[in-house]
Subunit: 385 residues, 4 copies
């Protein structure tokens, strides 16, 4: 149902994850009976969780830990890891920068060229840990750099930009044709971000095994503030899930919908799945890990844009280890630890046995829940003990 | 009317108590003429108010005081009272814990096993006060421990978990069949929480005399943040009230709907009844009492969950005695004292004589009232003096 | 259009003044051409503004000043002025009370009995100032005390409670029958508060010349917090205006709709009129006056309720004289000074010539305007210079 | 679809820019391929951005810089520049005033008469910089002062008030008839503000080349607080764009819609265009420039209104040069720098090639995005690098 913004201009109503809630079904289940595993192409993964290619969160070491826990970390192949032989002093410097200089210095530090041999080496470092290796390149650079990564044994290639369309128009360069490029590779490809039914469908038709869904998905997203674009995540995920069904109907291929961004707590993760996601990609959640290379600071990959930076280097609180963040046990209470345990608990409490079932969970539009604030103590927690 | 979240995913609109207001009818009444009593099974209770089984709020002594005032306190039979012969030093310790250690130590303190003899003794202590004794057990433990409580003279058994369904599915244990269990007992049973028409109806069919309604009911509820589930309380209560009517129509049995959680002020209590509740269950309201065992701290029964704690031990302000909180007189102004006097005043002002009438009160959806903040002084209060 | 809160429970959508905005018409006018006068019964008043019967705002001296400026102040005949021969030391004491004792001491100070001779004297003091004298009594006490006031020369009697209905039901006393009482008096009567079409209509049928509209009208109103009742003011005023039209159609009598409460700025006043009000009654706005007896503190008439106080004594900032507040000139910018000048400017800017025309102004539902906050500088103000 | 506020009072739903978001289309583009130029009458302008006639932002020097960058600054011909031979000491004084005296002193400083010779001289100073000269007068004074400006070489005359209608009614003066006045001039005229379809249409019919759209457009606008009038900007712009189409259809003349006010970030600018604006007028954005005459303070042209001041002199943070604010590069991240680069990036990301195309962009109603707050780091920014 379209809304009239003004005479002759209509808009669709879109919903954010913070506006919805999952409704308990008639059943309840034991958390330990819940199956949250999923498949990405031919790969089987224990946890429906990818870690975004944020320099502050993921280096080869962190990627190995996450992989061992059952998740899948994506290394940024255009970040500090592939620009610097030894990135550690660079991270040290960034962490120690005063607030007002951070953006400027980041812009400078990222001017250092990307080196193919470092791409090769970083992917090898992940493979050496015995886990699935995933890494990301932008559409602009993927043709140039993907070979080094694949030769090093890359298992999953992520082609990722703020917005990736199947039809990029350029007057200066011949843009990457994803339709040709993706099928030409020997590794499965995840591509995004996108945020609509039609773009998701087009990206699915490129032969990708997964589509990242999320463009300015959260209410505190800089993309939205700086350039005004974005689709609230509940709507974006549900739309992409509908595209997945159509694509499956047309081709028999099931392409994963990976909700990317706009999620902070286990509740957000659960709601993204309940809207239709097969998996989630989390970013700043992992910058809070003791193992994170950011050393208590975090920044996005648009923070150092040479002319239009978005976001800034922020201080972040170290809340636990990667293990505590991902699968617990949690010793804190704000919903950002034991994210997968929370998903499991959410499914148990509402009575859904696996991801596929949970994607069909009943949800409510409950805007009264918007406000975040003080903790209300409930007595009922006992039941889940 | 369903809302389209995205293509193929719809959601029902649900409302919180803070989004509604009670509309004055054509009549007004004297507060002293209002009857707020109710019946739970064969028991007659002066005040439509239960106190939740929170360790920080209810010990046998507090339960006796609340019972003498006309309310009904529920003792937690899986809490500190039944794990420790002398719980007083434990409460002392908890109250003195620094913030950052609280969750961890709580997790340890609650590892102490539950003892049947203490269950027996605590119930006896309440009975010795000459009041109705109510106590709670989780579905997981109720079969093991209920006998000790009933032998000690328990009047009302509360079977309570975050979410309780009539159909729990487990691969590891044979789950409690409430349909068999509840009718087998000699004491009336209250069961919950639930938050939908169908689950409420199923729980009513187990033979329970009351159903607790509330799953993540408030906007500041940790259940919602951590696991994303919940139903705003106005909708949950109205749905359960509709289930009560159907059940009554089918069986002739009237099962009480007890709104549990999401209420802080007398206004919230009044609104829950106006949505159809027969009674309310309040938690943190009583942790603010001078008599509360928490000594100015409070925590929920999910706070010490071994792997997924929700909530934390919080500092709470002592605002008055149990008597002042429940029936006044109030010497404060924020709506959290003289809760039953406020309910009475609300009914008098809007012209409704008893709980049954008030359940049919006209309400408005008034989201402009969301924001809480400064006090506006009005001149009209005199009229009710 | 009713909204479904839950199965079988519906609610009407109601709107607050802060959710609406007045839309400019095709015309603009000069502020000095705007006529904001109105008539209350046979009285002609320059300013469509009454001052509420708040002890902290209105004493006989303030009432005289407001009357001389063209407004109409209502003296509280059950407040400190009629309980104390010399109320000045009492005001001194209240202003000096520490926060935590204020409610308690207020409760005690208001236990002093009301004295008929003081009712007589205070009304005389207003009359001596050469202005229209208005004063308020509650329905419970009006029969006992109104004679003293009328004998002293009272011009307008205000019968006011939190909620006043035309049909009060009591088991202990024979309630005041407004239908008999009001026509029996020689002075015009204003009665309220009410907040619905039917109650407004019933009160109009009592023979009152004005009806006060407002029950828990604002989002920060204590009535709503403590007892959960209330109707957002835009809806309440529009409903009462519709009742006024029906009453006029049936009887030929035009009864004034006076919006009472929920207004803070000139914009709020303008919006109340644009919803249909003939006049507004302001409370805390006048406690900010240099002449206010509250000496920088303010409290409502429910603050000292013996068992269920609502509101508290608050500190308030002295922002200007009564003249500056009412008709300017303003030397501040937050919308709370020169309230009548603002109304005039609002009408000029949107092109409406008098109150009757302005009641039909086009309004918009604009919830994006909810948030109050920082000032945005505009360049266009020049046009109104 | 009209909304019922109360019985017999309806309101149209209006939307603010902060409630909407721009949806990516199927295409993406390179930022450097985007054309954001536009035409105002016969003038070609590189940047769709006017600077409001705020004394604190625009003096002849700043106007020249903005003009050289491709924008169009409007000088206030009723401000300090035309009242004082040497305004520099006046700006110094204002910048140094303590908070509580600012409004009062501003009221006094603006009592100094406007001088025709200074109007002439200031316009000449802009012309001397080799850029298009634009300046504003209010409807009340434009007849008296426009000649001096035009003689000095003015290129664009802006006739601007809080609300300008084509039909001003006055009992004291013969109001300016825009229908006669505008066609009589040799320079193109921009006129406003207005905020509705019909007023925009009437102003277009006066022969103006551009119409300013915006009356109390933002949620923090003082016009709304003080006088209660306003139309949220997304709706106002869309309505005016519809009027533009009708006017074009009737006359063949394309009159520019210039969104004025309610925009702070590049995202806001993009959204205004996506609602149908040809260009935007920004105010406080330029007070943050190093070159701004306000020296870190800012005030609106209603701040010094003699009896009803709106707004106040505020402290503002100097964030960059006019160049950095308008076309970058940005060294900050909050969306207020490189505003035109952000617009370009927004169009590239969503796949629109020029302003005309972007006016038809798909938008969403996404109220969950209301809240502004912390920065969320995203990994996808790389794609736009």
């Amino acid at each position: 149902m379209d809304i009239e913004i003004g005479k002759g201009k209509t808009a669709r109503r879109a919903y954010g994850l913070d506006e919805i809630a999952i409704v308990p079904s008639r059943r309840t289940r034991d958390p330990e009976d819940i199956d949250i595993s999923w498949g990405l192409g031919d790969l089987h993964l224990d946890l429906p969780c990818l870690a975004s290619a944020l320099d502050a969160s993921i280096d080869p070491r962190a990627a190995v830990v996450i992989g061992q826990l059952g998740g899948l970390a994506v290394l940024n192949l255009e970040g500090l890891q592939t620009r610097y032989e030894d990135p550690e002093p660079v991270f040290e410097e960034i962490a120690s920068l005063p607030e007002h200089k951070a953006t400027r210095i980041l812009q400078q530090l990222y001017e250092e060229p990307i080196k193919e041999e470092l791409i090769f080496r970083r992917v090898q470092e992940i493979k050496a840990g015995g886990v699935i290796a995933a890494a990301s390149l932008t559409p602009q650079r993927v043709e140039k750099y993907h070979r080094a990564a694949i030769e090093a044994g890359l298992d999953v290639l992520v082609v990722q930009g703020t917005v990736v369309s199947a039809e990029h128009v350029s007057q200066s360069v011949v843009p990457l044709n994803l339709m040709d490029f993706i099928p030409s590779l020997d590794v499965p490809v995840v591509v995004g971000g996108c945020a609509s039914y039609s773009t998701a469908l087009h990206l699915m038709r490129t032969g990708a095994v997964g589509v990242l869904v999320g463009v300015g998905p959260g209410r505190i997203c800089t993309t939205r503030g700086v350039i005004g674009t974005g689709v609230p995540q509940a709507t974006a995920v549900a739309d992409a899930a509908a595209a997945r069904m159509r694509h499956y109907f047309e081709t028999g291929d099931y392409v994963n919908v990976i909700a990317d961004g706009g999620m902070r707590t286990g509740g957000d993760v659960a709601k993204a799945v309940a809207c239709g996601a097969d998996s989630v990609m989390l970013g700043s959640a992992f910058a809070k890990a003791a193992e994170a290379p950011g050393r208590g600071t975090s920044w996005g990959m648009a923070t150092f844009h040479p002319t239009l930076p978005r976001g800034t280097r922020i201080k972040t609180r170290i809340t636990g280890t990667l293990e505590e963040i991902l699968i617990g046990p949690a010793r804190e209470n704000d919903g950002t630890l034991n994210l997968m345990g929370a998903l499991r608990m959410s499914m148990a409490t509402t009575g859904y046995q696996n991801i596929k079932e949970f994607q069909k969970a009943e949800i409510m539009y409950a805007p009264s829940f918007h406000t975040e604030g003080k903790i209300e103590q409930r007595s009922q927690g006992v039941g889940m003990g």
